[in-house]
Symmetry: C2
Subunit: 303 residues, 2 copies
């Protein structure tokens, strides 16, 4: 399957898994609204593809893949809240709290954090209890304070304070901490769980975790670059916010050219890891070219 | 053990389980702040006692019991937010967002939803994977949109709209839905998981679930009564809010005397269920007397 086939499969299953008429409807509609906003579905695709690479049946990974997209949607809903980034648009549509109100948006996010593992437990019929427990362990690790939330908290603190070595960390250390968790942990979770579902060995798990880390940081660098060079229409959200707020990003810290350079290097390292796998992965290679393309690395479009 | 012994055990373990110096400290301090506010620890006690009643070892239920208190704290943090009940005090102390700010309070709540099952998975050394999966299933059911959050969403909607038969439900149906989930589900979760840890059979699970439902509603009625008759000092939070807001409560709907009457009946039914268990449960009986005492049922103090 290519990225597009995967995306269509994920979209179909997300629509199936997300009820909209259960009671009270407000919460289910609000959850479904953000989960089913158009998106590239990179994270669930990584889960399915990681499962395939290590010899598993992708059918077995579908509930986990979709659950991770639900968790991702949760982080978007809460990140967009007035008390956080206060964003009005996401993926080209009004943010959850703009449509359903702030209280509902808080609760829809909360509900998704439990709904996602509920989907895994309910629909992973071919996975035994040992594997389910392992997947739950991964989920709670990367969804929580040691994962994406830790990254988000550090990001908020950094916004006010990064120039003064917030937390006693140098800006580059802090920036790495933030995106190692805020971004890369949501790549680790699908790549690792996909491998676990397939029954991958420890060595392969290490490799895929390393890939997740590099791909995650690369993706974030490309996002920071895009925030500077793209337009509202391309991003589907308010752009140029990073710069206005003098936010700590790979671009504000290193400048545009060095950021691109770091991005290229990371992607090269990703290629190296992917080539070591016994099964060739076109979709992962496509994801890397996609990242290059969005920031114009191939065609020398540097500003 | 009596209620006080249980409470001390739970407090000791909560303090152990909640880190405060992990990075980023803001989030861990904020989580720990609300989880360790003084409280009666009724929910975790129910988990330990249910485990004991059905022949289990309470040691095995400690991580789950504490996790449920963490989930309970999560609901308090988010319910108190400005966009929800906008409360400044909880258990006699400033609410989480008053101390740590709104963004941190949202994220501390989010983090607790995953941190709680992480504690279960990490510390339940004597439970096999089958039992862990069952406990996870219970957790995600009662923590989510089909559980406490569904109750909270209905409660918010009811606040604006209960007199006009919100959701096409009569006020008494709606009130029951709200507290069957918002309150009773957080009694079902500990009583059921305690029983599951002990290996209780289906029939016993049904009984304990029935007890949870009745005790949960009874507890909520007593809360609604207290809101009318008590003072700030007794409750540790702003009181009389229900009445000011013309909120749907057992007292506004039925009046104080009928509410007390319903409460007494439910508690009698609870006694009946408890007497059927093969093991006598002083702590559950103590919880019932505690509910009676707080609203003055025994001593005829009706207003």
């Amino acid at each position: 399957m290519n990225l597009n086939d995967y995306m269509e499969l994920i979209n179909k299953k997300l629509d199936e898994y997300m009820p909209e008429n259960d009671f009270p409807q407000d919460i289910f509609k609000s959850m479904k609204y953000t989960v089913t906003l158009p998106g590239k579905r990179l994270r669930p695709i990584m889960c399915l593809e990681s499962c395939r690479i290590f010899g598993g049946n992708i059918e077995d990974a579908i509930p986990t893949a979709c659950a991770i997209e639900m968790l991702h949607a949760q982080t978007l809903i809460h990140d967009d809240l007035p008390c956080m980034d206060n964003d009005d648009f996401r993926r080209g549509k009004p943010t959850n709290h703009k449509v359903f109100g702030e209280a509902n948006a808080v609760l829809a996010g909360d509900a998704l954090i439990s709904f996602a593992p509920q989907i895994i437990l309910k629909y992973s019929k071919n996975l035994d209890s040992e594997k389910l427990v392992k997947i739950m362990e991964e989920y709670v690790q990367y969804a929580g304070a040691y994962g994406v939330i830790g990254g988000q908290v550090a990001d908020i603190e950094a916004e006010k304070n990064w120039k003064n070595n917030a937390f006693g960390m140098k800006p580059d250390e802090l920036l790495n901490f933030i995106h190692n968790h805020k971004t890369a942990d949501l790549f680790r979770l699908p790549l690792r769980t996909g491998a676990i579902i397939a029954g991958a060995n420890e060595k392969d798990l290490e490799k895929i975790t390393d890939l997740a880390q590099k791909l995650g940081i690369a993706f974030q660098i490309s996002d920071d670059i895009l925030d500077v060079i793209s337009t509202f229409e391309e991003m589907g959200k308010t752009i140029g916010k990073d710069n206005n707020a003098e936010k700590l990003t790979y671009v504000t810290l290193y400048g545009l050219d060095t950021a691109k350079c770091k991005l290229s290097c990371l992607l090269e390292e990703c290629y190296d890891i992917i080539e070591e796998f016994q099964v060739k992965s076109e979709p992962l290679l496509e994801i890397i070219s996609g990242i290059k393309k969005r920031v114009g690395i191939d065609d020398n479009h540097t500003r």
